[in-house]
Amino acid sequence: MSDHESTYVPKTGIERWLDERLPIIRFGVDYATIPTPRNLNYWWTFGGILALCLVIQIVTGIVLAMHYTASADHAFDSVERIMRDVNWGWAIRYVHANGASMFFLAVYIHMARGLYYGSYKAPREMIWLLGCVIFLLMMMTAFMGYVLPWGQMSFHGAVVITNLLGAIPVVGPGILTWIQGGFAVDEPTLKRFFSLHYLLPFVIFGVVFLHLWALHQSSQNNPVGVLIPKERRKQDTLPFHPYFTVKDGFALVLFLMLFSVFVFFMPNALGHADNYIPANPLQTPPHIVPEWYLLPFYAMLRGIPDKFGGVVVMFASIGLLFALPWLDTSKVRSMRFRPAMRWFFIILLVVYFFLGWCGAHLPDEPVIPGVDGPDLFDGNLNSYLWLTRFLTAYYFGYFLVITPWMGLRETPLPVPEYVSSPVLSHDEKNG
């Protein structure tokens, strides 16, 4: 697709004048008519949805920043003022707060799409790597944003997460003091988090640009997973506009409907009541949890009995995503043609969901209430602690064992030669 020829013909004198000096309209038009695999399904609409999410966060965030005070004494009150006194403040804040959740919902679906259809494999490794970078930046941004209202969850969440760095041997305590800007999470921490929370979304914006550049260099994947050779372009692709702008637009409207349900009918459903209590460094809430989208990682962190070990496992779980293109030995991209692998993938999704479930519960709590299971090492087998460990083992096993091994061992179904051949052969069979 990188060698997609320009079809733009400037019509007016002004356009011709501009085209010779700054071919920006040409760039836009070429982009809009880019040949796109005709078989893309709705899982491919999440890229567009994500772009909108980023814009929504940036726009609402800039507006919030006009009223927000980044100071330990005033942050909480300034957010309450936004909610009560600022014109439309409640709506803007609820859109921003729920927008973060919607952003993660979309990114998880987008990533699962990539895993299922093998979009991380050659020649698309760079797209995937840049996506992983965006995911990391999003987690950092959301974490620092959650600290800003300076409620109980904000504060103690910041304490626990920054203390993770303190677990690093030798240099940990020094780094911790440096990050916090003092001996505890306090005013300096809040101020720098606000500064970075403002900055990082723009860094994300830049990486998204690279992500798309890489995408158009190595061409878009599709549900069948085969590359589209140049001579098949006519049969197997459609111009992005109007075909996919309309499809993306339809999905976007559905997504915005879900978004609105949260913003207008259950704006605090995804949040935590304790965050409406001003931060109190002298008292930790009885049960501290991160936002839902970070729960699986939080669970892995707690599942490991060793402080530093937990931190390593948590970061390794994300590191595996970066390594995935080189862990996968299968040449077949789409799991449509990998019936066995498909099951392992579905189990991975379930495992990931339940890891989040574990993260929301105390490790000692029994999974099946009322049943007293046998003890194993440091915990009861019928506890979220052990469930977390089993799930974590599967998560790591999927990437480190199942993925490399299945690629060598499985017999994939016959892969069609072209994007449009499944449809044609189907017709032949029936006809």
Binding site: H156, G181, P281, T284, I288
Partner: protein, 180 residues
Amino acid sequence: MAEEVVNAHAGGDEHSRRDFIHIAAGAAAVGGAALAAWPLIDQMSPAADTLALASIEFDLSKVTEGQQVVVKFRGKPLFVRYRTPKEIAEAKAADHADLKDPEPDSARVKAGHEQYLILIGSCTHLGCVPTFGAGEYGGWFCPCHGSQYDTSGRIRKGPAPKNLVVPDYTYLSATKVKVG
């Protein structure tokens, strides 16, 4: 023609002089950038006023037997416990128990003032504030990931690796301490 002459002389000699200049210039640029970056990095370390706030005085007569008073010290809670004789006895008895971070009770209080236990109220796991009076060891229980501390503030169970920290403090008089 002049260019040809220069090229003829160029050889390996000229090459290495160029390389040297490149490397020297590159090194100077990298070194300069690192020097310029340092203030931008170090500004994040605790500022002078943050460091200056570092010590407080506390009047122990405010605490009654069996009570714990919590004050803020360097942004963290400071626990001041007036221990009962029973708790002190328990703490001493546990000196020889199987401790994760072995330390005798006598090293965690000042001689002659065994009843006062002064601790930083920050769990050594990930910094939550442990609650007093819960857990199996008569001391503190951390609500975050379940670490348990005994009546000397020593870690007995759970993910925390270390005992609750005893800050540096000195007795200014029989009932007054300076912490930090």
